[in-house]
């Protein structure tokens, strides 16, 4: 009875406009964009090649020549932070894509087809039982350390989280009258799945994907820090910190800058995700 005409006005299609109306989300979006642009353009922006060694100029503090100082081999920390961003964001992004492919499929199947719900859900539960870093370590240990394998491992780690969200939304959407209307019209099931279900789970999916992006960056940094991640000659923020910690005393900047880059990127992704969630899907606040 309480349905008012006004309640329906809550959803406007222009996402960007709506993000812009929330200052924290906007800040998140801006920073994320800047980080992405800087990383993508790293080869153009970076004043030095990331691997360019100048041992004579090792451990120099930030200066005009080296905005973020140099590391233990005299490499330019700024250039390395930029290039590391490529790896970290690239891994994060690939993880999101990979996890989405698996997660969305599993979630849709479990949510839409009753008969698959129980088995797929149990599988999701079982996969969720492994803490992310642990499962990733085990998988990387099994598959061997490489960027691809880190992506595969983290993708497998995060897929069930996405699957859960997609399943939960699908369960709700499946019962909605507009899906029923489509069935009454005789619209084929695959079309219903894509046009009506998938399209309407994009909001929670987008929100969750943002958080997974953030988590994947943290997890990748953790793996690299532990030395079980991507090969150490590809600079990543995690390896930079793991090396930099040896020089925490003499050259704290080696560790500070990549650390700040992680925090800034992850924080802004979270701000963005939080903002997205607030107006895309308030219910989502309840599940993880």
């Amino acid at each position: 009875m309480a349905a008012t005409a006004g309640a329906g006005m809550a959803r406007e299609p222009n996402l960007l406009m709506r993000i812009a109306s929330r200052p924290t989300a906007l800040i998140g979006l801006i920073i994320v964009t800047i980080v992405i642009v800087l990383s993508v353009l790293a080869p153009l922006i970076a004043p030095y090649a990331p691997g360019q060694i100048a041992v004579r100029f090792r451990l120099q503090g930030p200066s005009l020549a080296h905005l973020m100082g140099t590391d233990e081999l005299g490499r330019d920390v700024f250039s390395r932070v930029l290039h590391s961003g490529r790896t970290s964001l690239g891994v994060g992004f690939a993880v999101v894509i990979f996890a989405s492919l698996i997660g969305v499929t599993l979630g849709l199947v479990a949510g839409f087809f009753r008969r698959f719900d129980a088995p797929v859900s149990r599988l999701i539960d079982a996969m969720m039982a492994f803490p992310d870093i642990l499962l990733a370590i085990a998988l990387v240990a099994a598959l061997g350390p490489s960027a691809t394998n880190v992506v595969i491992a983290l993708g497998i780690v995060y897929a069930p989280r996405l699957a859960r969200v997609v399943r939960a939304s699908t369960l709700v959407i499946r019962e909605l009258p507009y899906v029923e209307a489509a069935r009454a019209l005789g619209v084929p099931t695959p079309v219903i799945l894509v046009r009506h279900v998938l399209r309407n789970v994009t909001s929670p999916l987008l929100v969750q994907a943002t958080f997974i992006f953030a988590n994947a960056i943290l997890a990748e940094a953790g793996l690299s820090f532990l030395g079980v991640g991507i090969s150490p000659d590809i600079p990543t923020w995690g390896t930079m910190i793991s090396v930099g910690r040896q020089f925490l005393d003499q050259a704290p900047w080696i560790m500070w800058f990549p650390g700040s880059a992680i925090i800034l990127t992850v924080l802004s992704l979270q701000l963005l995700g939080d903002g997205l969630r607030d107006f895309l899907d308030p219910r989502l606040a309840k599940d993880v």
Partner: protein, 337 residues
Amino acid sequence: MTLPEDTILSVRDLRTWFKAKRSTAKAVDGVTFDLKRGQTLAVVGESGSGKSVTSLSIMGLLAKPGAIESGEILFRDRTGSVHDLARFAPRQFRALRGREIAMIFQEPMTSLNPLYTVGDQIGEMIALHEPVSRAEARKRALDMLRHVEIPDAASRLDDYPHQMSGGMRQRVMIAMALACSPSLLIADEPTTALDVTIQAQILDLLRRLQAQFGMSILFVTHNLGVVAEIAHEVVVMYAGRVVEQAPVLDLFAHQAHPYTRGLLACTPDAERDLCADGARRALYSIPGSVPPITALPPGCAFEPRCAYRIPACTEALPPLVRVGANTVSRCIRSHEI
């Protein structure tokens, strides 16, 4: 503060607004009515017309951006002294709620805390306002369950809300509300969520309890049938404003406001709308829909949909004018209708 002896509640030109950054929702914007002791005043209006906001304003339970902008809510307590609730501090409300004014809500399914037994929840009400022992509170709770005619009350006392049906829960809500014998009961659509047969039971119960406890009832509803069943007086609201107040018999006999008239005409009535051969006459319908309360026209809010509208309607908000002995209406053409 003057309030006639027989009046327990008098709301005078109440304005409750929800201020947001960009727009202000004038949810209640000029509500005036009086409720006489021992009587039932029904507030009717469509969804969003401000009925709930009015009752929450009286209880001091407005949610955050909502605040009383202006107006008075005069309430006479048991001792006979009159308070203006519009100016009450939260602390003052606390002593009043439950003891002087109690409230029941639309959704019996969610209005009870799922984690406590119904006995606990009724007992809690009593313990809050009277110095009673646990055992005593429990005994009183049981009494109340009997008053609201819950079968086998003693065994239901330790039930959790989810073990009860909607009708039973609404009875528990009523028992809780009346546990400290308040002088005013605000019922916000207490039967809307219930089936007709259960609705009839609850209305029946409320009538009987009113006779027994003597409380006044502010009954919020959008169902004119229910109004006809239970009310002594009726207030009709539209877009946050009172458009008409009249005794129930007068109102149904003659509507002073075009909106009230339309409202009555558009519910199907077999006698009126069906021909002898079963053919249907078209129902009377009010064209258009309710305007959003964030952008009300400066004049009469009903004007765009009104069959009686004249250019003057758009100019200024029509005042509430007395049209009959006991009827007031917010229409400049009331007398012509």
